[in-house]
């Protein structure tokens, strides 16, 4: 049984980040990179399936620059068997569909039984990479999975879809399939630092676009959108900030609450 887990090294902005002048991006000094929260859950789901089967291979794949290596090492430390990192400078501002295209070239070669993605990444929050990837791979897909039951080699998996309002739909999906995994489905394990250091011994492939039979044009052709500019959100109509000490703020809040609740 082989499970591929695409992961992303996401960017989190510091409290006091700065935009680059032309709105082209954010000053990298103020950006913290970390493994996407959802991917910890999808990786854990893969590891649990492999443990239940007693056998199998879990491959973590990421489209990302050097910083993505750390996230992949964490996956390897937790128990993934192999890591694959894909990068080319042309991918610097790749949008969700371009990334899905590039991923598909790498994932295809693996011929996985299951592909487990996170529902979304915490920085871009597209929620689309997984299903777009499934379309390239021609795999059946289910998005926003909050429960998963699968036996290695089985023709179907039973999954739960977490719908709005807390409603759950239980369905069976034909396998091989791609699932996007929601947070809370399991308890991701801890990768201790010793394991992360030892994970450097595990196999990690580093691929460029040409290794995948792609080039800059192909990536551009796959893109779904172009970002013209990045700007701060409109503050018009935003919150009236209550200043002062906590005691003063609390007093004001108490007034507002009493006034609104009495009407």
């Amino acid at each position: 049984m082989k499970i591929v887990v695409p992961v992303k090294q996401v960017a989190a902005l510091d409290d006091e980040f700065e935009l680059l002048d032309d709105g082209a991006g954010v000053d990298p000094d103020f950006v913290e990179r970390d493994l996407n929260e959802w991917d910890a859950f999808s990786l854990e789901a893969a590891l649990l399936l492999r443990e239940a089967a007693g056998d199998g291979e879990v491959v973590a794949v990421s489209v990302g620059d050097d910083e993505a290596t750390e996230g992949l090492l964490t996956c390897l430390a937790k128990g993934a068997d192999r890591g694959v990192r894909i990068w080319d400078d042309a991918l610097q501002d790749a949008d969700v569909l371009s990334v899905a295209r590039v991923l598909s070239a790498a994932v295809e070669r693996e011929s996985p039984d299951l592909v487990l993605c996170g529902v979304q990444s915490s920085d871009a929050v597209n929620g689309a990479t997984g299903v777009a990837l499934a379309a390239h791979l021609g795999l059946p897909h289910v998005a926003v999975v909050s429960g998963l039951s699968y036996d290695a080699g089985s023709a179907t998996a039973t999954v739960e879809r977490e719908l709005e309002g807390g409603l759950i739909e239980v369905l069976a999906v034909r396998c091989p399939a791609l699932l996007t995994i929601q947070t809370g489905i399991n308890e991701p394990r801890y990768a201790n630092l010793r394991a992360i250091k030892q994970a450097r011994e595990k196999p990690m492939d580093e691929l460029g676009l040409d290794d995948l039979g792609l080039d800059e044009q192909a990536v551009a052709a796959a893109a779904g959108a172009r970002r013209r500019r990045l700007r701060p959100p409109e503050s018009g109509g935003g919150a009236e900030i209550i200043g002062g000490s906590p005691a003063e703020a609390a007093a004001r809040i108490a007034d507002i609450v009493k006034e609104r609740m009495s009407g």
């Binding site: 409290d15 295209r101 689309a128 409603l167 700007r231 900030i241 906590p246 703020a249 809040i253 609740m261």
Partner: protein, 318 residues
Amino acid sequence: MSGILVVAETRRGELRDVSLELIGAARTVKDAAGGRLAVALVASDPAAHAGALALDGVDEVLTVASPVPHFEAHVAQRALEALIESEGPSLVLVGHTIDSLGFAPAVAVRAGLGFASDVTALGWEDGPTASRGAYGDKLVAELDFPGRETTLLMVRAGAFEPAEGAGEAPVREVEVELGDAIATEHVEFREAAAGDVDITKADFLLSIGRGIEDADNIPQFEELAEKLGATLSVSRPLVDAGWMSNARQVGQSGKTVKPKVYLALGISGAVQHLAGMQKADTIIAVNSDPEAPIFSVAHYGVVGDLFEVAEALDGHFD
């Protein structure tokens, strides 16, 4: 390619509000885009809702009969691909919902469309333009879709006002071969645990999030809620961690609430949470991060330590 195609949604036989919001969104750019506005519905009995979709501004309602009683992602995908092929819209609008996440990106890939999800603003400049969040909603990205004949946009629920006003759109049945698209089988629905409390009925919600840090801090907020005469609700991370039942969860996969007062402590305001409470009458948010997205929907904000504020607040409600 011309015109706008809106894809409506139903669940368990009910038309979902987002469908009307999409029509509202489409109307804001219909004039600039030119062409017709068509609304499509893929369901086992689509005709039942055709009337509700024939609103002012809608030129045509397209119904596609689904071979299965409930939403099936691959059926929806095939149906939309067929509709795009046959109707040739320049803009397709779908809700950024759990169901649509299951198929819309796949359609974008297979039909080579322009694409963006979680769109909060729409425009037209020689083709569609859109705005969406970036870096977890701390910034806004402005997008366009050069060289794309058709663009598919997934629109954030609640970002647009629902369309109103009856219209007179004709209904047309579109036949699409869907039987062989099916790749999943519905087994059952399971309701969320009823729980001891219905937060959707509360007038005053005291809502706590990741900022409270420890499960053992929860009792103090339970007490505070009681003192304030509020009902305690939580954001998703507390439910994921197993600290609270999801009966108290506010958000996209929890409950949608519209209380008189929503007091949020330590909630950053991830979009899925905002979806569940942004319609509250008065939103007061306390968070140590001045950039927390919750401040964009809150009416009043306090940038500070929630524990200190909570403690001080306690004294005002004896």
